[in-house]
């Protein structure tokens, strides 16, 4: 929410109450006594425990991806071993992971871009004209179990000879992205004041012109939020790609899943593959933290 509210403050000069309420609240937060010494110690310990709980498994995955399979089976070498890059070399070269990385990226990128083109204007109209029932139709897509859509889709698209092509995958991923984008952008547009558009129209812009030249430029951070989240969800999507992708369009999650269908598991390779999928997303998340948080919590605090 931070991004959203900051922007709302920047533009909301017409409402002096919010402008004065915010600093006092921050002051009070700072002045608040931080509690007893025992509580402070407890708090630090609890926070360390939480961070360990969340990070340790990922760290373990990273460690294992640098171990030979012999070392993975040797419990004496949990933390001390000679790191090897062999797993990564195997995964990237022998298993064509560069192709899967490209597939995942391409599907996520195109489906996000198309969903933004369709979703941002739709969210704008739904927010400005309070089309709650129409919004509900789009948001229903978030509720329906994916399997119930896959059977008909598979039938139709295989008749059209489209299964195994990028188009089907992109369409199916758009189905996830579009509702997400509409949801995030609606709450963003709700927080943008109407006055700017109105004054732009008084100055002679058409309503669509006002949307394009005033509202859209003001919404860049909202659009970034929606776009980043949509990209992440598409990158992580498994079920649609499992059914609809072919050997040429296989995405990373499916490629990892295929890794274990062999008799014995190559743990080192599997962990290297799992790391290859998660690292790009985590790097994106590190740099766009603010946007991701604001997107995930969009609309959550309104009554």
């Amino acid at each position: 929410m931070t991004v959203l509210s900051e922007n709302a403050e920047d533009t909301e000069n017409t409402e002096p109450q919010t402008a004065t309420a915010v600093p006092t609240k921050a002051d009070r937060r700072r002045r608040k006594p931080a509690g007893t010494r025992a509580y402070k110690v407890f708090r630090v310990a609890a926070l360390v425990a939480v961070v360990l709980f969340l990070i340790a498994p990922l760290f373990w995955m990273l460690l294992a991806s640098f171990k030979t399979n012999v070392d993975i089976y040797d419990t004496g070498k949990s933390f001390f071993f000679t790191p090897t890059g062999e797993n990564y070399a195997n995964v990237l070269q022998r298993n064509n992971y560069f192709v899967f990385i490209f597939n995942s990226f391409w599907v996520a990128f195109v489906s996000t871009a198309l969903s933004l083109v369709l979703g941002v204007p739709a969210a704008y109209a739904m927010s400005r004209f309070t089309m709650h029932r129409s919004a509900l139709v789009v948001l229903m897509a978030r509720v329906i179990p994916g399997v119930s859509l896959l059977v008909p889709w598979y039938y139709v698209f295989s008749n059209l000879k489209m299964v195994g092509g990028f188009e089907v995958l992109i369409l199916s991923h758009m189905f996830v992205s579009l509702p997400l984008i509409v949801y995030i952008m609606m709450s963003y547009f709700d927080s943008l004041p109407l006055e700017l558009e109105e004054s732009a129209q008084v100055d002679g812009l058409t309503p669509i012109g006002a949307f394009r030249r005033i509202t859209l430029p003001l919404s860049v951070s909202g659009i970034a939020t929606a776009g980043i989240l949509s990209f992440i969800f598409s990158w992580n999507n498994f079920m649609f790609a499992l059914v609809l992708s072919g050997s040429k369009t296989k995405t990373l999650p499916v490629a990892i899943f295929d890794f274990v269908s062999y008799a014995s598991i190559d743990w080192g390779g599997l962990m290297a593959a799992a790391t290859v999928v998660t690292i790009p997303i985590m790097i994106i998340a590190l740099f766009t933290q603010k946007y991701i948080v604001s997107g995930l919590t969009a609309g959550a605090t309104k009554g």
Binding site: L47, L118, F238, I281
Partner: protein
């Protein structure tokens, strides 16, 4: 549109005509912008939802199997009767779906509230804790499933190593018939508690400080202030978190399929409704039956959402 100026070399009359046509179009577009903006997205989602849903409903009334293209007969509610009287696969799957969702939600909301309270007041190093919270959330579920498979492996897994150090005997975890579902719930809690934390934290920071301050003046201790002031004020946000998380938890598929494979393991230990329906559709091609399962599943989801929304309205008042 005003930015598009006609080419200068064009004959003036033609230019005038195109300009007026353009103005007409612009006027029309501006007048109908509500639907012009909303329609493409709605048509896209509508076509992709309404048609498949109608098809699923139709399939659930036929004996379609093998191939959707193969001839199928209309059998009325026969599939629903078969499914509803199936105590071997269907009802256990319903039970697993509900217990998975229920237990995961309780753990995530309680843990999430504790962590959100820990993070509420500013502290040094806040930035790094927030990064740590974000990482599980964005990690690819299939990769996360594989990661836990190694960590929970009965022989080489780190969890059993840790237990061994404190003298607890090795547990079968994912490969145990009784422990598999609990282990997958643990994975879900690990991955999605951060989501609940973020939502609740957004709610906490938007709370007004006055009621809390007043209670402090009146001598209420931290626990009293939380249970009688903060929690009631947070209820609408808590319900939003339950709603958002609940929908996804009911539909959990990725980590279950990634860790236990087809049919939720050899004893169907983690076979929830979604995994069951997926297996019926794509492993056994029983489209009629699977459609009936899906329609029932859908009704469970809608029903629980409706209940929660009602509850939220009651709380918000």
């Amino acid at each position: 549109m005003s930015v598009l100026t006609p080419p200068r070399s064009a004959p003036s009359r033609k230019a005038a005509r195109t300009r007026s046509a353009r103005e007409n179009f612009s006027g029309w577009a501006n007048r109908h912008r509500k639907w012009l903006f909303a329609a493409p997205a709605m048509i896209f989602v509508g076509v992709l939802i309404v048609f498949p849903l109608a098809w699923t409903l139709y399939l659930s009334l036929t004996d379609s199997q093998g191939s959707v293209r193969a001839a199928s007969e209309f059998v009325g509610v026969q599939n629903y009767l078969t499914v509803l009287s199936d105590v071997e696969r269907f009802w256990p799957a319903v039970g697993r779906t509900l217990s998975f969702t229920g237990v995961a939600l309780v753990c995530e909301v309680v843990l999430g509230m504790c962590i959100a309270l820990l993070l509420w007041r500013p502290f040094r190093g806040e930035k790094w804790v927030r990064v740590a919270i974000l990482l599980p959330l964005v990690a690819t579920p299939v990769a996360v499933g594989m990661m836990w498979r190694l960590i929970f492996d009965p022989n080489i897994g780190f969890v059993n190593q840790l237990l061994g150090m404190v003298g607890i005997p090795a547990q079968p975890w994912l490969s145990g018939q009784d422990t598999a579902l609990g282990t997958t719930i643990f994975m879900d809690v690990w991955q999605w508690t951060p989501m609940v934390v973020l939502i609740l934290l957004a709610g906490l920071t938007s709370l007004s400080e006055e009621p809390d301050e007043a209670a402090r003046m009146d001598g209420a201790n931290a626990f009293q202030r939380f249970f009688f002031i903060t929690l009631p004020l947070m209820m609408p946000t808590v319900i939003v978190a339950i709603l958002l998380r609940g929908i996804d938890a009911l539909k959990t598929f990725d980590i279950l399929y990634a860790t236990k494979g087809k049919g939720g393991g050899s004893f169907h230990e983690v076979e929830t409704l979604n995994v069951y329906a997926y297996g019926l559709s794509f492993d056994y091609n029983q489209y009629g039956l699977s459609s009936a399962v899906l329609i029932l599943f859908f009704m469970i989801i809608i029903g629980s959402m409706w209940l929660l929304t009602m509850r939220k309205k009651a709380v918000s008042k």
